[in-house]
């Protein structure tokens, strides 16, 4: 077993250990054992940092890969297949190493942060236990080498997300949110599960490598439509987990959870797991599947951005920006900008975690006030938070010199390239939506920064009833606090902010602030070569591509996938690099300046504007009414259906049963009356006659011996007579 494998197993199991210790013994340990969680995560991070170092830095090899697996279930000699085993295993390549380091680092920081943020909560220990199991399952996803174990950990992160969203389960809203999150994820998961089933039913294995080998060997027996379906169904898992368009509704509600949790799960790691998974299965996605994915990503990015504009809850703005950014990543994968999407995943993880932790710090300082309308002027009171938050915001908005700029730009370049490669037309919608959402992102982040940190404190503007509702909801002690009560958070909450902010600067990833492709990340993560090339539905452009392919080969010796389509896209993306930079920078500046115009210089009054475009405003404020639509259709629908079916069950089916019983009973009654009056009549008659005879004969029993003797002799005489008559005749 490779030493890195051993290390990674230790890393995987450490958080589980923390979970087990804390769930059982947190009340026995001092400080509810938070130091256990932090310490264990520290160790885990140290180990994964070592793995990162030895993989990325030492063996500087894009194709690095070590794997190990063991037989988990042995089904013996299965008829028709032969010996069938289900194997679990671990694979470590560059992506894994990076994700490992990222997850453990953010988890460690969140643990540290939570020691301050969650201090004094009555389930303090349990909180850390849940963080532990989440980290465990997240690492499981990262390390798995097969679909089955990924599915397992997939659901386990769903569970831990469920537990953590509903951590304040006394709040009905929290309980609703956790249920909603789990169910939405479940919907995605069944799609993913069906995809897994399609692949298994073909190859009788769950392992990535074997499935890809079989696919590449052309062993996929079903029609190509099935292959596309498999890809899309697996993508459904990502749709659920990464809150893509049809199933995005759970993520904003998930903000009911503690803010560090939002930072860890719903911004940095778990939601990114969907993207990571799509990257894992990238090679089996057919072009058609990729198109769907790209459109879904683009639409999600755009829609979430539009919603984020009008939200007032500081966390909800961040949540929708998360959805939007995830849309970017999915878009990137869809358009084939594989490494760019993963790059954005990592960068986004850091700066979004920073943003959430920052907002957490604000909420903490504001005594659980989450509404940006009543904030303002925090710049003076919380300098650290302000600085880090702003830096992360810039990264998110994608201003040059930040990590976000590089990754988002790479994705947009890929989008343009994709559109060009696919021959334009509708495909240009994708980059357009991408750029537009980039602008929106800049706009709403600018708005947020302004509302929160600049201007004067607006706490006193808050209506009283909101106070009470807020306090009943959050259980803060005193409602009336003005800004000068607000003070900077303690070091254990400050340190993570600083670290994360530092990680959202460009030089961490690439020497060249304008080109992420020159950074170690893009060099280590290469677009893998698709294995479904031979299943492509032959069409004009592809045949055309295959002709251009040879020409492209020479031009891009850097990464030259055999699949002409990928080559084409990579080529176009390369060409579109600088246009993308320009356009996106312009868009960002546009967005920020727009925010400035609206909120700083008040040239445009936001309220008036809102009035002017009220329908649009409401549409965005109400999140495109997705919740209402789902409520009206699916939830009501299934509840109604359930009621109908249960009525059907109790009245129709049971009715039939009882009806049968009734018929039988009536027959029985008829039978019974026959019985009573005819059969029973006979019986009774017999009884009666017997009775009367008895009454008569009773007289005979006089108790006088002689009477008996008389009878006896009469009988004897009778016998005589009988006998002789017989003798005579």
């Amino acid at each position: 077993m490779h030493s890195l494998i051993q290390l990674s197993i230790v890393v995987l199991l450490l958080p589980l250990l923390s979970f087990v210790i804390l769930i059982f013994f947190n009340r026995r340990l001092p400080r509810r054992g938070d130091f256990v969680g932090v310490g264990i995560l520290g160790t885990a991070f140290a180990l994964s940092a070592y793995i990162f170092w030895s993989v990325i830095v030492q063996t500087y090899d894009p194709a690095f890969r070590v794997a190990w697996d063991f037989t988990w279930i042995d089904l013996g000699k299965v008829p028709g297949i032969g010996p069938l085993q289900i194997r679990m295993g671990i694979v470590i390549d560059n992506l894994t190493a990076i994700m490992l380091a990222m997850v453990t680092l953010i988890s460690l920081l969140v643990h540290l942060y939570s020691t301050g943020y969650m201090a004094g909560d009555k389930n303090y220990g349990r909180y850390f236990a849940f963080l532990g199991i989440f980290t465990f399952s997240m690492l499981g996803i990262v390390l798995s080498d097969n679909l089955f174990s990924i599915y397992i950990f997939w659901e386990l992160v769903g569970l831990s997300s469920y537990l953590l969203i509903g951590f304040f389960f006394e709040k009905e809203s929290a309980a609703d949110a956790q249920k909603k999150a789990f169910l939405a994820n479940r919907v995605g998961d069944i799609g993913m599960w069906l995809g897994i089933l399609i692949l298994y039913s073909q190859f009788h294995t769950f392992s990535f490598s074997e499935i890809y080998a079989n696919l590449a060997a052309g062993k996929f027996a079903m029609s190509n439509a099935w292959l596309t379906a498999a890809g899309l169904l697996l993508f459904m898992g990502c749709v659920g987990k990464s809150a893509q368009f049809p199933l995005h509704v759970w993520l904003p509600d998930a903000m009911e959870g503690p803010t560090p949790v939002s930072a860890l799960i719903h911004a940095a790691t778990m939601v990114a797991a969907g993207v990571y998974f799509v990257a894992r299965i990238f090679v089996l996605l057919t072009p058609d599947a990729l198109h769907v994915i790209a459109f879904i990503g683009a639409f999600t990015a755009f829609m979430a951005a539009t919603i984020a504009i009008t939200q007032n809850d500081i966390k909800r703005v961040l949540a929708y920006s998360t959805v939007s950014q995830l849309g970017y990543m999915v878009l990137g994968l869809g358009v084939g900008a594989y490494s760019a999407a993963l790059f954005h995943l990592v960068t986004h993880a850091f700066f979004k975690a920073c943003l959430f932790l920052g907002s957490g710090a604000i909420i903490h300082a504001m005594h659980h006030e989450q509404d940006m309308r009543w904030m303002g002027g925090l710049r003076k009171h919380m300098p650290w938070t302000f600085a880090t938050f702003t830096l992360a915001t810039l990264a998110l908005a994608g201003l040059p010199l930040t990590s976000g700029f590089m990754s988002k730009d790479a994705i947009l370049a890929g989008a343009i390239g994709f559109a060009n490669a696919e021959g334009g037309g509708i495909y240009y919608l994708i980059p357009v939506l991408g750029f537009f959402s980039a602008m929106l992102t800049a706009f709403y982040m600018g708005r947020q920064i302004w509302l929160v940190f600049f201007g004067e404190s607006r706490t006193h503007l808050k209506p009283a009833d909101d106070h009470h509702s807020a306090h009943h909801a959050h259980g803060a002690e005193d409602g009336h606090h003005t800004a000068h009560e607000v003070h900077e958070v303690s070091w254990n909450m400050r340190a993570p902010l600083v670290i994360l902010a530092a990680l959202s600067v460009f030089f961490v990833y690439s020497p060249n602030p304008l080109d992420g492709a020159q950074g170690w990340f893009m060099k280590m993560i290469k677009t893998p070569e698709t294995v479904v090339a031979k299943y492509k539905v032959e069409s004009i452009e592809h045949s055309a591509l295959s002709t251009q392919h040879s020409a492209l080969q020479t031009e891009h010796s850097a990464h030259s996938p055999a699949d002409p389509r990928q080559a084409e896209i990579a080529h176009e993306a390369h060409l579109a690099h600088f246009p993308a930079i320009y356009i996106s920078s312009i868009m960002v500046v546009l967005g920020i300046s727009l925010a400035g115009i609206v909120f700083v210089f008040k040239i445009i009054d936001p309220d008036k504007t809102a009035e002017a475009i009220r329908p649009l405003y409401l549409f965005s404020l109400n999140k495109w009414y997705w919740d209402e639509i789902y409520e009206a259709t699916f939830i009501r629908g299934s509840v109604l259906l359930s009621k109908i079916l249960s009525w059907f069950d109790t009245n129709i089916i049971d009715g039939i049963v009882n009806g049968v019983a009734l018929v039988v009973k009536n027959v029985a009654f008829a039978n019974n009356s026959f019985d009573k009056y005819v059969v029973d009549g006979l019986v009774n008659f017999t009884a009666f006659s017997v009775n009367t005879t008895g009454a008569v004969l009773r007289k005979l029993q006089t108790g006088k011996v002689q009477t008996y003797i008389v009878m006896l002799l009469a009988v004897v005489f009778g016998y005589f007579v009988f006998y002789f008559t017989r003798l005579i005749y």
Binding site: P79, W154, E155, E170, D189
Partner: protein, 542 residues
């Protein structure tokens, strides 16, 4: 060995018969000891079981030895019927991979049932006598390899169940008991007919007589070609299969025949619900695997599609009905209908993955649903109501209970890492891999979502949030300033007490362990299941 494990409870029942009915504690302890001894025997059998032997059909030379294990074979009834020849019924016990898991499950569940019967106060003596009778009958059904013997145990099971529901049940118990009894009787009558038909169609290769031995019946070579159920009479074989299937499907229970289950569960006392859901339902599917399918493989082949559709209906229909229930116990009852649907689906797949999944699902459903009903009983004992809306916020006041409920609920909705998931996963893998049931599987996957829906919804309504205004309990500020919960006329511990923990913790441990490492169970069943699949399908089902 098997005779011992079968008749141990009856012996205990006889001992109890001798105990004066005032000595409740002694009676309870006697049955508990019997159950524990049964458990010990089950563990011994498990340890001594050789997973390499396939079972299902006779081993080399037509003798069950070498294929089955712990075989006990004695002539039992031998009647000369003149014209009909002779009636040879054997006392024929033996186990293979299909039975051994069920034996362990039965021992486990009946032991836990005894513990949970501790609170029964009404006619303790009669209760435990019937209970032990029931335990014996169940065990007997699982080890009997002679159809007649199986039928005897099968019928023997009805009687105590009828009384246990009808006497110790809830307000509407007579209706439920009658319903249960008639339903099952209806099924078993047909079973009797088919049994006779089979008897006259099968020849024991060893003795040359007609035989009830399931082992002989499972081998199509032993059928008389022209007999009523011989290979030539396709139509009769179809009818017999259908009739037998209905007989078992009623026990499962399968969709149109399921309505006895909610009533029986709602009325039955907690331990009986545990037994009912934990073991009795399995008898239906076990009967299918042991009798219905191997005896009519070609009919099974032809009807896989139908069975699969019924399985899917069970899954989704049960889930929906559960979603609509207000009574927690009824919800759990419908959930077990839904979960048995998975078993049917796995069986319908007809390939090893599906069958393994089905069998494993039978085991897991036994443990998990037992857990669910025990938990329902816990809250019912305290609050005397099972209306889901009469609670709320329990998690704050009964943390241990809430934790175990969470584990059980998630196990029931098939969360990975808990045993339920693996079985469901295998069922789907098998059903999807088999071309016949592929689309059925795609539809029934929806069951996962709705299963999660009703479980999480009930979890939220009962445990999360705050106390409902019309809840079945009060809150009072304790000495330590925290809120404490107070049930009317409940003197015991508010959170789980020691007895309840001893019932629940083993199940939780089993559920988690088998969810992480299923081989201890799967290892025993795979060879038998593969053999079964071979028997069922001369052509490979892919």
């Amino acid at each position: 060995m098997l005779s011992l494990i079968v008749f141990l409870p009856i012996i205990a029942g006889l001992i109890i018969l001798a105990v004066p009915s005032s000595q409740k504690q002694i009676i309870r302890i006697v049955s508990l000891l019997a159950a524990l001894a049964q458990g010990v025997l089950a563990v011994l059998i498990w340890r001594a079981y050789d997973p390499s032997l396939p079972g299902i059909t006779a081993g080399p030379g037509g003798s069950p030895l070498g294929s089955f294990q712990f075989v006990e074979k004695l002539p039992w009834i031998s009647l000369k019927l003149g014209g009909f020849g002779s009636l040879n019924i054997e006392y024929f016990l033996g186990i293979d991979g299909i039975s051994v898991t069920m034996i362990i499950l039965t021992a486990l569940v009946s032991a836990i049932g005894v513990l949970s019967s501790w609170t029964i106060q009404k006619q303790v003596k009669g209760y435990f006598i019937l209970y032990n009778l029931l335990a014996s009958a169940m065990m007997g059904c699982f080890v009997a390899l002679d159809f007649f013997l199986f039928y005897v145990f099968w019928e023997l099971m009805l009687l105590p169940m009828y009384f246990l529901i009808g006497i110790w049940g809830g307000p509407n118990r007579e209706y439920a008991a009658i319903k249960f009894f008639l339903y099952t009787l209806f099924g078993s009558v047909f079973m009797l007919l088919v049994m006779i038909g089979l008897y006259f169609s099968v020849i024991d290769p060893v003795t040359g007589n007609h035989t009830f031995s399931l082992v002989a019946m499972a081998n199509q070579a032993n059928y008389i070609k022209s007999a009523i159920l011989g290979p030539d009479n396709a139509m009769w074989r179809y009818i017999a299969f259908a009739v037998l299937f209905v007989g078992f499907a009623i026990k499962v229970p399968m969709f149109p025949f399921h309505t006895w289950l909610p009533d029986a569960h709602v009325e039955a006392p907690t331990p009986i619900s545990v037994i009912l859901a934990g073991v009795l339902l399995k008898l239906g599917t076990y009967g299918m695997m042991r009798i219905n399918f191997p005896l009519f493989p070609e009919v099974f082949h032809a009807s896989m599609y139908v069975i699969g559709i019924f399985g899917a209906i069970n899954i989704i229909y049960g889930a929906f009905c559960a979603l609509a229930q207000q009574d927690l116990k009824k919800m759990v009852a419908y959930s077990s209908i839904s979960h048995m649907g998975y078993v049917l689906l796995g069986l319908a797949a007809g390939n090893s993955e599906g069958m393994v999944g089905a069998l494993y699902q039978m085991f897991n459903h036994g443990t998990i649903t037992a857990m669910l009903f025990l938990l329902v009983g816990v809250v019912y004992d305290r609050a005397h109501t099972r209306q889901i809306d009469k609670f709320g916020g329990l998690a704050s006041y009964m943390p241990v209970y809430a934790a175990i409920v969470t584990v059980a609920w998630f196990a029931s909705l098939g969360l990975p890492g808990l045993s339920g998931f693996i079985s469901e996963a295998f069922v789907f893998v098998g059903a999807f891999s088999s071309v016949t049931t592929r689309y059925i599987a795609m539809v029934s996957v929806l069951g996962i979502v709705f299963g999660a829906a009703y479980l999480l919804w009930s979890l939220q309504r009962m445990f999360l949030g705050k106390r409902k205004p019309d809840a079945a309990y009060d809150l009072e500020i304790g000495s330590d300033g925290h809120e404490h919960i107070h049930f009317h006329d409940w003197k015991g511990k508010i959170d789980l007490d020691a007895r309840e923990l001893t019932m629940l913790v083993p199940l939780v441990v089993i559920t988690i362990f088998l969810g992480i490492y299923p081989m201890p169970v799967l290892g025993m069943i795979t060879s038998s299941v593969n053999k079964l699949v071979e028997v069922l399908s001369p052509v490979v089902l892919r």
